[in-house]
Structure formats: C-alpha cells, structure tokens
Amino acid sequence: MKSIHLLSISACILFILFTPFTAQSLPINSDLGLTPHKGEFIFRIQGRYLTKTDDPSGQNRKVDVYSVPVVGVYGFTSKLSLLVKLPFLVKEMKTGSGQIRGDEGLGDISVFGKYRIHTLNFKGGTSRLSLVAGLKLPTGDDNERDSSGLLPPGLQLGSGSVDFIAGAAHTLQTLDYEVDTDLRYIFNNEANRFEFGDVFRYNLSFQKRIFPFTLPDKGMYDQFNALVEFNGFFQEKNKLLGIDQPNSGGHTLFISPGLQYVTKRIVFETSFQYPIVQDLNGTQLETDYGFVLSLRVQF
C-alpha cells in the first residue's frame, strides 16, 4: 500500500512537469541517447551517499556507502564515444553490537562504448537512440579481511570478476520537455566461488526548465532545470558454490527528484533518491535514501 501511495505521488509530479515549458537538460542518475560531439571530452565527478538502516534480521545493522565516481567520456566521432568510470568507495557496516566492518579505496573500473544508431530531427525536437556495451573490470579489492575474517561480498570494493554490460538509451528532446530512457543488463560472472546475481536496470528521466521562464529570441543562456527520475533494478539471487543465496536479489525502484544548473560548458546538479519499491528477498537491509552531487565539464 505504501508503494501504491508513493506511485500516485510520482504520477502527480509527472503531470505537473508536463506543463508546456522548454526543457533542455541531461539526466543525473540515468544514461541518455545523446552522444558527445567529435573530439569532445567530458569530465564528470560525483559525490554519492546511500544509507541502509531498515534491518529485518533484528541485528540492527546499518550500512553507509560513500562513493566518488570519476568519469571521462571521449567522442571519437559524433556517433561513437568511449566512457571510463573510476569509482572511489567507502563502504561501512555497523552492527548492533558496535562492530564496524568495511573497506575504502578504488572499486571496479568500468569501460563502455556507446554508438548512436538512430537520429530523427523534427520541427521542435530530436530523437536519439544509442547502444551501450562494456566491461566491469576486477580492479577493486575482493578479498579484504578484518579481525572477524573475510568481509562479506557486499562490503568488498570489487567483485573479483570481469562482468559484461549491454544496454540501450534513448532521448526525446523538444522545446517543451526532455525524456530519457535507459535499459541496461549486467552479466555478472563468478569469482572466488561467488557470483553476484545478474542485474537488469531501467531508468526514466523527465526534465523541465524552470529558469529563465521565457527563452531569449537570440543567443545562448544559462538555465536551471527541475527533474524527476525513476531508477530501478531487478537483481537475481547471488550464488555461492552454485547455490542461490536466500538473502539476496530482488527489486528496487527509486524516485529521484533533482535540480540542475546548466551552462555552455558546465552542469552542476544534485539529486535525492528515495526508494518507492523495495521487494527484497530474505533479510536484506533496505535502503533509506540516497543523495548525489555532480559536476560535469566539457572540453
């Protein structure tokens, strides 16, 4: 019932956003169908925080994850680009008995290629579709230990495996609104006799300009945007020695309202992520909320 109530609120937000204002923006927690121009380099750095305190196991566990993904994107052509993501992480779990376990450092580096396969420009708008494929490399520590022994896989910085990622992203950008849709599948492989469950991610982003209220007839302008995203994922159960782990996998969906300041070369943005659906298997910790600060600069 809580999920249905929150979905109704989400629908209202969407209705309000679809009033006719010009929206020109970029999603924060989703990918988009646009590709960088030829020779363009985009640098992006984010500060992300996620906390989980709802512990159905009764152990009163709490998990905090701080991450700073550093991303570089380069456009080889106007259709083909390469993205490299370096995630710096701090993972920390506190139990009710006061024990603290965790690790910090570089996680698994991801490398993606993106190719735009569809472009349709029409009066007042453009539609772009791109395919994405890449690898997640085992650069993060996957066998960190503390006084209690080997950290659980969820607290390790890396998975230890080379994993494959494939997906597609679409952007519809008009003078009234922008909608970005992003689908992605992560094929997780086994390492250290453990295998994270495959993940299917789906994202939907709606953006609208809130300032300036009226566009100037000539020239360019800086602008503020309001946006709301729906960021969800389904995850299969993890496997240990080929056996499904009961306290793993499930479905999570976040609603993520945000604000952006967009200039010709810089985008500064922030987003708050709140889970509106958490259908998790077993006694997994549930997410309370997440928070994102992000800066993009293009050269």
């Binding site: 121009h37 003078l175 967009v262 010709k264």
Partner: protein, 107 residues
C-alpha cells in the same frame, strides 16, 4: 583663430571617419545557418567548437530558440558550404540551410 579651429575640427573629423571605416581586407563574410537537433546549451558548445575550426572564422552567435547560428568569417576566406556541413555534422547536428548575407563566395 576661428578658421584655424575649423581646420582642426575638420581634420579631426576626417581622421575619425577614416579610423571608423574598416579597410576592404577586413570586411566580413556573414552567413546564417539553420541547424536541426539543437535544443541544449550544453550541446551547443560542440557546434561552436567545430565552427571555430573553419579557416577564416571570426565570430559566432548561436540562437538556441531559433535553431540558428550567425557566423562571421574574415573577408576573402572563400568558406564553403561543405566545410560548414562537416562542422555541423561533427557536432552531431544536421544542417538545414545556409543563407549568405550578401554575395555567396565563389566555389
């Protein structure tokens, strides 16, 4: 005295007029291009970068609302539509029209 003053004023006026008039070699070639797919200031930067690479580039004003760009080139550069087309496409957009202000350069 009045005659001398008048001569000085006329001379200064002539000098001022000569300084205001650009020599023939510095006249601009101006063109307005219509670009399809341009709806974002962050995206428009790519168009500006690639247009600036065209030999003879002098200045550009991108008008996002109209989907146009007003470009000035140094006189005598004989900029071609092909070079403008290449720049627009490298920026990820489609060229929908080129309008020369004045005489179109000979190909």
């Amino acid at each position: 005295m009045k005659v001398k003053l008048a001569i000085v004023l006329i001379g200064l006026s002539i000098l001022f007029c000569l300084a205001s008039v650009s020599p023939a070699g510095e006249k601009e070639e101006r063109v307005i291009i219509k670009v399809e797919g341009l709806y974002c200031p962050f995206c428009a930067y790519g168009l500006e970068k690639h247009i600036k690479k065209i030999k003879g580039f002098k200045s550009i004003q991108i008008n996002i609302k109209e989907g146009t760009a007003e470009i000035a080139f140094k006189s005598g550069t004989r900029v071609s539509k092909a070079s403008i087309l290449e720049a627009v496409e490298n920026a990820g957009f489609e060229l929908d029209g080129v309008t020369w202000i004045g005489k179109e350069p000979e190909k």
